[in-house]
Symmetry: C2
Subunit: 309 residues, 2 copies
């Protein structure tokens, strides 16, 4: 299937599911969330959601919820934020006001299961005008560690903005385009915060952390330091500024379901200078708070603007 | 690279890493385990490991450790089994006697990160003669739900026993062969237990739970029930008895590192009859204990045999 053949309408920004079979199902079990349409009133639970932030680590997504509650003035010193998916350990989910926070594990398959169920959840809850941001960690190329990269295009291992998915044994190519306007708005938020460097660049999405990202420190390695450096230099020349493992399917699925989407990842190291994460726990922890600070600022700004209008 | 070009010796069954760069590293940080060679005495912590059981869910791997402790007569009513990877939420790891239990999340990328670090851990700890078993859940084809499938071959979406990995932007094909003798021994354990049906069959490994497994209930679906049924029938004709999301890279990486490996998954439903997991929590929970009962029986038998000899 050529790029962009799967189209979405753009008029009212409601959530699209592209599946005629769903209408004939009397019940829809969102198995990996431990939620379902016959067991939960999804519209009552999630109907007001306007922002969804997703990230690999369950702990980070809980801490994002605590952070955003404080930022939005919704926090209560005695408040507990219960994990909405408490009956399963596949994903963790938290909600405060219009902001939903969901973990997705590591890699394309793990985030893809979560997104199928998240998109159905938002659809069943009849949410409209939802913005989804992945806040994550990554390896940087040619950037000072701690720099935040907002993804322009999510590209594959040969630097093309596409995702190959296999459906019924056949390869389907999907477009990994993200919302350019949203990326610019987020860059502006980075400038306003002025607490760390923020750039827009391409993000390479791989299926593997070690060999797939040209690391020299995995259990297997069949290439030299020189091979690694020349691959990373090629990536840099193609506009790649960071490497992670979820952005392509995130971009493709959000596009197919008419969700405004962005990817905001901090770089934990410069891959041209090394492979191992040798920075201290505190330094890495500080870096990981940067995407959430940036996205928190964006959400606050948007909510304040909508109150005024 | 053709199938099987990456060879291992087979004489002393020590763990192989195939990476010349590791020798020149003064320290090796196993980042996603929160362990490292300079911060932990890996040989003292893990040198006696003979069996490693891996599975998607951290809860299930903790419960496996409690179960195996009881089975091996190593349990203490007051014992706590601390999570060895407590400093991170990427994976959970538990150990009791010679049995290590590690979670791997969902999908090929997630288990691949874990296996790179596990193989290096076993190598640094100088372990020998290690057997690794994935105990998991899957969708069955033409089997009564609750049947346990021991994988003969892990096959891809066109039913070939191979894994395509992308290294420096180029496709490398790896062999997904598992240990045939170990599979037969495990089948024998199933017969001895006689508590549930156990079969040997091929396992299809996919990158996606919904469209990649021909489900009709994802957020997107572009095919008919008839298309789905004919794809599953083709899979069945090729010897596929269950579908999951980790076995191919598990088989390939264990083979490359000279680890005796098996995949033992219970089928939670018959995919020819449906897509959603509608069985009760209790029934699904009972099913999930079957692979651990089978592998527990195998480990007990092996340890008893080695005591006698």
């Amino acid at each position: 299937m050529p790029l962009g053949e799967e189209k979405n309408g753009t008029c009212d920004r409601s959530i699209y599911v592209n599946n005629p079979h769903l209408d004939s199902m009397t019940d829809d079990i969102l198995y990996h969330f431990n939620l379902g349409t016959s067991t939960h009133d999804l519209a009552a639970m999630f109907g007001d959601v306007k922002f969804v932030c997703v990230g690999g680590s369950p702990w980070r997504m809980k801490s994002f919820t605590e952070y955003i509650a404080k930022e939005l003035g919704l926090s209560d010193p005695n408040a507990e934020y219960p994990n909405i998916c408490a009956g399963t350990d596949r994903y963790a989910m938290y909600k405060i006001g219009p902001v939903l926070s969901v973990s997705h594990g590591m890699g394309i398959p793990s985030i893809s299961i979560m997104l199928h169920e998240l998109i159905k959840l938002l659809y069943h809850a009849r949410c409209t005008d939802v913005t989804v941001v992945r806040i994550g960690t990554s390896g940087g190329i040619g950037l000072k560690p701690g720099t935040v990269v907002i993804t322009k295009q999510s590209v594959d291992s040969v630097f093309e903005p596409r995702l190959e998915q296999i459906i019924l044994g056949k390869t389907v190519v999907r477009c990994t385009e993200l919302d350019g306007e949203l990326a610019e708005e987020l860059l502006q938020c980075g400038k306003e915060l002025a607490e760390f460097e923020t750039v827009i660049g391409n993000t390479m999405c791989t299926l593997d952390f070690y060999e797939g990202q040209a690391r020299l420190d995995g259990a297997f390695c069949s290439y030299t330091e020189e091979d690694k450096q020349s691959y990373l230099a090629e990536a840099y020349a193609a506009g790649v500024r960071n490497i992670e493992m979820e952005s392509s399917v995130f971009a493709a699925m959000c596009k197919l379901s008419n969700l405004r989407a962005a990817v905001v990842c901090v770089t934990l190291l410069d891959r041209q200078k090394g492979d191992q994460l040798t920075s201290s726990h505190d330094v890495l922890n500080n870096y990981q708070q940067r995407p959430q600070a940036l996205v928190g600022h964006y959400i606050k700004k948007k909510l304040n603007a909508s109150k005024k209008s």
